[in-house]
């Protein structure tokens, strides 16, 4: 593939063309689906959680390059983290790790943060744990 000059950073294009952790964990411990097909973005995050730690995270995303790259990056950022640490990964952290996103694409990083929160909440609700206190 030839290098393409776009409004995106090289890091975004890298995660878009070579997404990390793409797929779905079967029988996941936590599932978070966020977004809306009408808006052109849907993210589905699946987590494997062992002893309060995220040992695996995967994503499937319908959306633009920024949405795909944000999903890929957020799964990288939360792998190996405790649930509390993962909860603290903000949309800003995702955007910064991607070397920035165009202003009209920042909502994609927000979606990534929401996807993680929803997946952790799903895990906690299934395991009877209290809802996160950070929200």
């Amino acid at each position: 593939m030839t290098r393409v000059i776009t409004m995106y950073s090289e890091r975004v294009m890298d995660h878009f063309t070579n997404p990390r952790n793409m797929g779905e964990i079967p029988d996941a411990d936590g599932i978070g689906e966020v977004g809306n097909p009408a808006c052109g973005d849907i993210m589905r995050i699946t987590l494997r959680i062992e002893e309060n730690r995220i040992v695996d995270a995967k994503f499937k995303t319908f959306g633009c390059a920024a949405a795909i790259a944000s999903s890929s990056m957020v799964t990288e950022l939360i792998r190996g983290k405790t649930l509390e640490e993962a909860w603290g990964v903000t949309n800003k952290a995702v955007a910064e790790a991607l070397e920035g996103l165009p202003p009209q694409k920042l909502h994609c990083s927000v979606l990534a943060e929401e996807g993680i929160h929803k997946a952790i909440e799903d895990y906690r609700s299934r395991h009877g744990a209290p809802k996160a206190n950070g929200e």
């Binding site: 593939m1 030839t2 393409v4 776009t6 779905e24 097909p37 808006c39 009209q104």
Partner: protein, 391 residues
Amino acid sequence: MADGRSRPVYMDHAATTPTRPEVVEEMLPCFTERFGNPSSIYALAREAQVTMERARGRVAEAIGARPENIFFTSGGTEADNWAIKGVAAANRKKGDHIVTSSIEHHAVLHACQALEKQGYRVTYLPVDEFGLIDPAAVEEAITDKTILVSVMAANNEIGTIQPVAAIAKVAHDHGVPFHTDAVQAIGAVPIDVDAMGIDLLSLSAHKFYGPKGTGALYIRKKTPIGTFMDGGAQERGRRAGTENVPGIVGLGKAIELATADIEGRNRRIVAMRDRLIRGILETIPDTRLNGHPVERLANNVNVAFRYVEGESILLMLDALGIAASTGSACTSASLEPSHVLTACGLPHEEAHGSLRLTLGHRNTDDDVDYVLSVLPRVIERLRKMSPLTPG
């Protein structure tokens, strides 16, 4: 280029076209030697005026009009704005209602919306699933306060060609002038303003291998219309501003070339278009053709791929050396997908997955083969990433 290709494949001719070398050649002396201001009186200026008037004649000839009814503008957007706002201003006492369609270019839609803020009323006619406007719906929409009917000759996104003559006849039966945005139609569909009953027509040079920044508005004699640009007495006092002589000369040459043997040149492009459409629909499942199967611009392919998003398709194609376009919102600041595709009844998620390929004279069968060979891989790759893909 990927796959050993030495040149990129440009399939976005509805966005813009390369300026033909013959056109550039005629333009160049207007920058350096024949640079005179046509409004001045010495010989140098007269030369500029003569070349400009020759261009006006060529534009008139191309659409079956008289030269004195052609007014040069900065492009299609200015021509649309002038037609709509100019007619509205000139008819303020007579009426306050405009009939247009829901799939017009933003130059028309946003001009109408600006008028609505000033108290005018606008009917945006619906289209059928193929993007066609029904002349009977125009008839129903017209009231005794209607001052203009404006319907595009051919749509820029889906390529649907409208029954312009039938719609114009309905407008005239009620004594209402008819405007058409023919920006995509010039050079692709034969246009004759008299035979088709067109009172106002917008065109833009860069859509038919002319320069950017130059267009024209045809105004039938005695059509009530206000001035849009105030200032000097250029364009017989109706459009002020020193004329863009190089651009106008380029427009003249480009329209002459574009409207010579439309049918003959379309034959080659239609063959490529139909091969693309067939190839895409046959090799990629869950795909549909947007727009009309027959009443369609020779160069337009617009397909919707379920479960994937258009900007992602474009970026992957770009990386493979293919330039195309989408109706997905993700290329714009809003989250709303194409108003044209949603007006045709496409659900939002499918409108987001649309791809437009618009062919031009430089495209070859080889280009078509290349697109058909890589597109299935691109769609498959994105579908694997999508949570909407079944199974």
